[in-house]
Subunit: 200 residues, 4 copies
């Protein structure tokens, strides 16, 4: 309960933690999302490791816009599962109605955090439903993942975009090209490692 | 009532009607949205009538994408008002948290139905909060309109875009230019009028 | 040449005609785009005809937002082919650089005209590059279609979304459900047919 | 100069430098964009300094998606100024045609890099045209800035969003809250400063 004297102040860490907690509660592991990333990217980067995929998924999930979309989508799934939405929204989300596209809209705001280059990857996994996406789409479980399946695909697509950006930066470094200012996140990680802390 | 033998089939009319019903229940009239449109457009079209503004708002509200966004947004507002969302989503929506942007994302999907030319109008009314938007933003009422205020601004912006398209078509007709195929909606209205029915 | 006395007035028909003319000049037929639509939709609608696919592609192409995106994208392709862009934009478009995503952004504004439900179809064809998209991606021809391949996929995806909307309307009519106001375009076509004209 | 033996490899630094060079060539200074940011944000953060505004504009401009949009937009403005686009695209861009919205679409991809919370700020400055935007909109100069004025407003809006994110992080630090992983960019700056380099 809020104390009237303390003005509302968002706690970003609580938002980040709730994102991880809810993904877990709804049965999705970071590892599974990372596997989608590997599926999307290993033909372009044969040396890509699962560890890198996991790390890139985590960087995507560290963004507030992503956390907002994940939490909002999962909330709507959960409420639909409990039958608590008003009609006809309840029906549309419960049945993953094909003309209901708000789930795609939220997914899109996630893909977008690393730019438009992720749109294609999103559409591809959303159509083929590999790995975890197949399970999330299984309508026989009684669970409703109308939002979550799109969200998971979108996180994987955004992580793929992030990898494309970093790999380009690495290539340029290897070529001895003057460095563009894009590797700030890696820099932060190096700093954190040196300081004994961890930025994530 | 659903019969187990009848597979789920979306009833578009029910979706349309729920949209109007919920706007009404949350205290927003079509007239008020039309007033925002008039405010945005009368300096460009001095002869614009309130009737035209109302009609254009109705055409925007007849789109399924718009109805989906309106219903989803209002549902989240209502649940936040009842304190039924999980934390910290409850807090973010309840306090219209400035880093929570999913409301803007839904608003954007509405603006977009008549293309990107509506973005500016949306931002403008969302900043100035004229008319109905001021009331929806009054945090002292106990009501929560985190989504609805953005949605109403977006509907007004989309209606403004629609007017811009139709006015151009009218200008070209007056100039005796060969007609582009954009006036299908008006055509539909003429047809409906002639048939004694009404398409909206 | 503009006559100083005549204020600029957009001729929508000229914009529409240029869109068709430039698609043709760049080697893309409406039929080929319709084939992508058929590929995307026939598993959902086994009775879908090529004629319907063509008609839906034409309705997508009749939208000003779509025409604007098509013309702008083709213009950039043509200028890149002629080597007339400044560096490094010339290089990025010429090589369909993977970190250059403005082509996807324009494609997206096209997909969006019938809502977010088309995102998946766009990503899917953009990844698999069936039919005309394979030809447009053949880098050995000397032609540059960095924008056009995404645009063609986007038009096909938007047409698919439009079909999903109309098929739902048809299903509801067959079920004798009260009609939602979505079939205005068909109404316009019926009106035009009756009047002996054609709205398209 | 391209050597046939060296495969194309994007030089990110060249893209970044071209972005700055072309903004300068088209008469826009970072200072002026920062002034728009100050105008948008100082009522929320009275202690905001011009130096912070400049720094945030620079961080926005360091993003590849932003650079791509800036360069593409300026290229189209320049070509329109030289009369080198095909008709009717030439006319639409030359006259900043109200139904031509591709400039807004590019602007939007810029605003989006720090999420949807920037949409409102974009629309607001785009409507009011303060400062540099008024000059860019002066149609009497013979210069064409159809894209650039929207781009500049979008960069300012994105920088404003970035400030909102950082200020929240600062507030949470002051409150002694556990830190969310959002300050990686600042971390990178500290690292760079310590290493004697500059991540820009």
């Amino acid at each position: 309960m809020a104390d009237a004297k303390i003005p509302y102040s968002l706690n970003s860490k609580a938002v980040a933690e709730a994102t991880y907690a809810w993904l877990h509660k709804r049965g999705v592991t970071i590892q599974e999302i990372a596997e989608l990333v590997m599926l999307l990217q290993n033909k372009y980067y044969p040396n890509l490791t699962m560890e890198e995929c996991v790390q890139n998924v985590e960087m995507v999930l560290s963004k507030r816009e992503v956390q907002n979309a994940v939490l909002t989508g999962i909330q709507l799934d959960v409420l639909a599962e409990e039958g608590k939405l008003f009609s006809p929204l309840q029906d549309m989300i419960e049945h993953d109605e094909s003309l209901y596209g708000v789930d795609e809209i939220l997914a899109f705001s996630i893909v977008n955090v690393y730019g438009s280059i992720g749109f294609t990857n999103y559409g591809y996994v959303d159509k083929l439903k590999p790995g975890v996406l197949e399970r999330l789409n299984d309508k026989s479980t009684g669970q409703i993942h109308t939002y979550l399946d799109d969200i998971v695909g979108a996180v994987a697509a955004a992580a793929s975009s992030r990898i494309a950006h970093r790999k380009q930066a690495e290539r340029e470094q290897e070529l001895g090209l003057p460095q563009a200012p894009e590797d700030i996140e890696d820099a932060a990680k190096r700093l954190a490692a040196r300081d004994g802390g961890t930025p994530k």
